[in-house]
């Protein structure tokens, strides 16, 4: 790979700018295609293919304009926003990081969201609705609320349910969730919107400890990401 192309690719990755690295498989051409510009000499058809694939995050080989190309899509990492700096969060943060997520923890309560409890993660101590408005969940974002407290979970949900977040879950028993559904209806959300919430949270693997609950949530999130049907465990 050309040094200038690699340097620009790394700059884009660091600034979380989506970019497709385009490699001619004859070994002669290398270029970078961004949403709004192109670094390199490519035909319009190749640029279009690169942008279409970037939007769908679909790397792969294709023949365009008579040549074979490898389109290598570099989108920013998937994000996991966790509302509630609770015990489960302490286990979910490292697990999700290993799985490749950029993890962000939101909790306005000073005694919960401490750097000591959460080293090496982005902590936001704003009120959840303000935090979510700033974070702008998109189709590459998952949102998990774990506070059990409607004062904190509901404002986060209000923003999240209006977003394209690909996975939404809220910790709580069926009874807690039923009450949550009532509150969300009063806030004006319809069944389709409320149905986007995966409840109870996580796959039914009999999770008990905080780490096990984190595993079940991460497992369900993974299944939803790859659009696998979630099969209920045999009773």
């Amino acid at each position: 790979m050309r040094a200038d192309i690699f340097s620009k690719l790394q700059t884009a990755r660091r600034s979380k700018t989506p970019v497709t690295l385009v490699d001619g498989l004859d070994g002669k051409t290398q270029a970078l295609v961004y949403a709004d510009k192109v670094d390199g000499d490519l035909s319009e058809a190749v640029v279009k293919e690169a942008r279409d694939r970037l939007r769908d995050n679909k790397s792969g080989v294709a023949e365009v304009s008579g040549d074979r190309w490898f389109f290598d899509c570099h989108n920013p990492p998937l994000r996991l926003i966790i509302v509630g700096a609770v015990h489960i969060t302490q286990t979910l943060v490292p697990m999700a990081s290993i799985a490749g997520y950029e993890v962000i923890v939101v909790d306005p309560r000073a005694s919960f969201a401490t750097a000591e409890r959460f080293p090496n993660v982005t902590l936001i101590d704003d009120w959840p609705d303000e935090a979510m408005e700033a974070l702008k969940p998109d189709s590459r974002t998952a949102v998990v609320t774990l506070t059990h407290d409607p004062k904190l979970d509901d404002p986060a949900l209000e923003i999240t349910l209006k977003s394209d977040a690909f996975y939404i879950t809220c910790l709580g028993s069926r009874r807690t969730h039923a009450k949550r559904v009532e509150r969300l209806k009063e806030m004006g959300f319809d069944d389709a919107a409320i149905g986007r919430i995966h409840a109870p949270a996580g796959l039914d693997i009999g999770a008990v400890s905080p780490a096990e609950i984190a595993i079940s949530v991460l497992a369900e999130l993974t299944a939803v990401l790859h659009a696998k049907p979630i099969v209920a465990a045999a009773a």
Binding site: M1, G60, N120, T122
Partner: protein, 113 residues
């Protein structure tokens, strides 16, 4: 707050390549560009190799890395990138052991300093 994603570093193959290049090492990059059937690593999976055979990342479940590294050493010298193909229809695949029965194409190139 130091590095927000310390755990992700095991997967940051390009970051490793960047670090190695800055240390003046010879570096080759192998990238899965196409797969058919059951293959252990998806398109876009990467393996970075240095002149001493150190490697980070993967392009398979460990079946073809040996063959890729051997090729990578040649490419570090010549600078000519190569598309390598492994599969059950390929005698070499049996030798290097792509046991899953899948087919995979790997693009191997030199990282220019």
């Amino acid at each position: 707050m130091t590095d927000p994603t310390p755990f992700a570093s095991i997967d940051d193959v390009l970051g490793t390549a960047e670090g190695w290049l800055s240390e003046g090492r010879k570096v080759a990059l192998a990238t899965v560009v196409k797969t058919w059937g059951s293959s252990p690593r998806p398109v876009g999976s990467r393996l970075v190799i240095d002149g001493d055979g150190a490697m980070v990342g993967s392009v398979s479940g460990g079946c073809i890395e040996g063959a890729v590294i051997k090729e990578a050493f040649e490419i570090m010298q010549s600078g000519d990138p190569r598309l390598m193909e492994f599969g059950v229809s390929d005698e070499q695949a049996w030798d290097v052991g792509l046991a899953c029965g899948g087919n995979v194409q790997v693009w191997v190139e030199r990282m220019e300093a």
